[in-house]
């Protein structure tokens, strides 16, 4: 996108128009760009299509107000803005079957593995298996990787030097978090005894690796 933006020259400043007209055009551009993008649009991207003295925040605010009664809204997510349907329509949309693959179709198990990595990253597959108490297959990890939710982190200093896994910005976007701190409160979970940051001790015997699981 960045490359194409550099090639096409557009009139950003719109100096031949009145102040009011300019603002209206800019507002339209901002909305169009955000609408067309499948990912959150950052301020930087928006600055490529509007003039120097354009107040992006005011425009965002206007768009939000204009969408007041609509079933979708403009939300701030992962450092940018994105059009989203309002959460209360989730059930309706699911029932319709029209867009039943919101970020991706994750099985419960995959989602659980993903959230575990979110909390414990960087973490190796063996460590995840320890947390689950049973082998987490390579396939599960590979699927999550292919969906772009995971990336390789540093290698773990354990025999075999396995890679650790970490979550990507795409993970944050898909689940509507801004930063990892937005993950449902860790301290609260810890206090409730549902989560412990320390990995289980090494009493878990590595199971025989199965060839094909899932």
């Amino acid at each position: 996108m960045a490359k194409r933006a550099r090639q096409i020259v557009i009139d950003k400043e719109l100096l031949h128009l009145t102040q009011e007209e300019r603002h209206r055009r800019w507002a339209a551009r901002v909305e169009a760009v955000i609408f067309a993008s499948s990912e959150p649009v950052t301020r930087k991207v928006l600055e490529r299509v509007v003039g120097e003295d354009c107040d992006i925040d005011a425009i965002i605010e206007e768009i939000r107000e204009a969408l007041g009664g609509r079933p979708y809204e403009l939300v701030e997510v992962a450092g940018g803005w994105q059009h989203r349907t309002r959460p209360e329509f989730a059930d309706v949309i699911h029932a319709s079957g029209a867009a039943n693959a919101p970020p991706a179709e994750l099985t419960d198990h995959q989602a659980l593995v993903l959230m575990t990595i979110g909390y414990f990253q960087p973490v190796t597959r063996a460590e995840i298996s320890k947390i689950f108490g049973r082998e987490v297959s390579r396939d599960t990890i590979a699927t999550l990787r292919q969906l772009g939710f995971l990336a390789s982190g540093p290698r773990s200093p354990t025999p075999g030097a396995p890679y650790t896994y970490i979550t990507t910005p795409a993970f944050l976007t898909a689940f509507g978090f801004d930063t990892l701190r937005d993950l449902p409160d860790t301290e609260m979970l810890e206090d409730a005894g549902l989560l412990s940051r320390t990995l289980p001790v090494d009493d878990f015997v590595e199971p025989e690796l199965e060839d094909d699981e899932d």
Partner: protein, 281 residues
């Protein structure tokens, strides 16, 4: 008082000895481990080192490693600041970026130009950050060290204050918890913290200087080709992976090189593991 404690550091920074890189980077590691704790994570210094060194160059070191990279950058950049650098740092520290935070760049410049003494300016920027967004506190500490360096006209900042975030100087009188930014006595606590941090940094400098001297002393005894690569990294980095690979040095050669250096007592093995060894001054 804080001025007196800073004098020895000032001497070191002005002299810019060849081991200054290793010194700054090790201070950065200490600060990063406090910042990691502030972010509610459990990695310690050894864990951070592992995350940093055991990844492929260019790979993401994970959230804690990102925090470390913010502090490493502090110890290797100039003292100038713009909104973009601020945003990048916030990203590394895992702090959500929003517009009010961008005003910090302006506050930073204003404080830099104002006549207030370095420690008070540092306290002011932390307070300001905490006022805007309590969860962005780590960014305030990062800015404080940058501001301190600017005030003292150091070419490159020295990561200091953050390492004291959990020390006893911020303990309120009568066991009433901790002094938070903006509360009474914070300025005084920052001055004390600076004295502690400067003393610790001075002690560390003396230790690293001694080891660097030893390293220079044994250098003529080394016969490995490409040994300079390893030696240079030892002087500019906190730690070096035992299987360092450079165009002149294979990982087997560097393994032998570090083992030899360890025999000559010029480097220490920092991880305490028999495998995945990490060496440093």
């Amino acid at each position: 008082m804080a001025g007196g404690a800073l004098y020895p550091l000032d001497q070191i920074v002005r002299a810019e000895p060849d081991w200054a890189g290793a010194w700054r980077q090790r201070l950065a590691l200490k600060c990063a481990s406090a910042a990691v704790r502030l972010a509610g994570r459990s990695e310690d210094e050894a864990g951070l080192r592992d995350a940093w060194l055991l990844r492929k160059p260019g790979d993401d070191p994970g959230p804690a490693g990102q925090i470390l990279s913010a502090w490493k950058r502090l110890g290797s950049r100039s003292t100038a600041l713009d909104a973009e650098a601020l945003q990048v740092t916030a990203g590394m520290l895992g702090i959500k970026w929003d517009e009010p935070l961008a005003t910090l760049a302006q506050t930073f410049d204003d404080l830099g130009l104002s006549g207030s003494a370095a420690p008070f300016a540092a306290a002011a920027i932390i307070r300001e950050t905490h006022t805007i967004r309590p969860d962005a506190e780590a960014l305030g500490w990062w800015l404080a060290d940058l501001l301190l360096a600017q005030k003292l006209r150091w070419p490159v900042p020295v990561p200091l204050l953050m390492s004291q975030r959990f020390s006893s100087v911020f303990r309120a009188d009568g066991g009433r918890g901790r002094i938070r930014p903006g509360e009474e006595g914070f300025d005084r606590a920052i001055c004390l913290a600076l004295v502690h941090a400067a003393t610790e940094a001075g002690r560390l400098a003396a230790e690293i200087a001694r080891r660097a001297e030893r390293l220079t002393f044994v250098t003529p005894k080394l016969r490995a080709k490409g040994a300079e690569d390893g030696l240079r990294l030892l002087l500019t980095e906190d730690a070096v992976s035992g299987s360092l690979q450079t165009p002149n040095l294979s990982r087997f050669a560097s393994r032998r090189l570090f083992e030899r250096l360890q025999q000559l007592e010029a480097v220490r093995e920092l991880s305490g593991r028999p495998t995945f060894r990490i060496y440093g001054l």
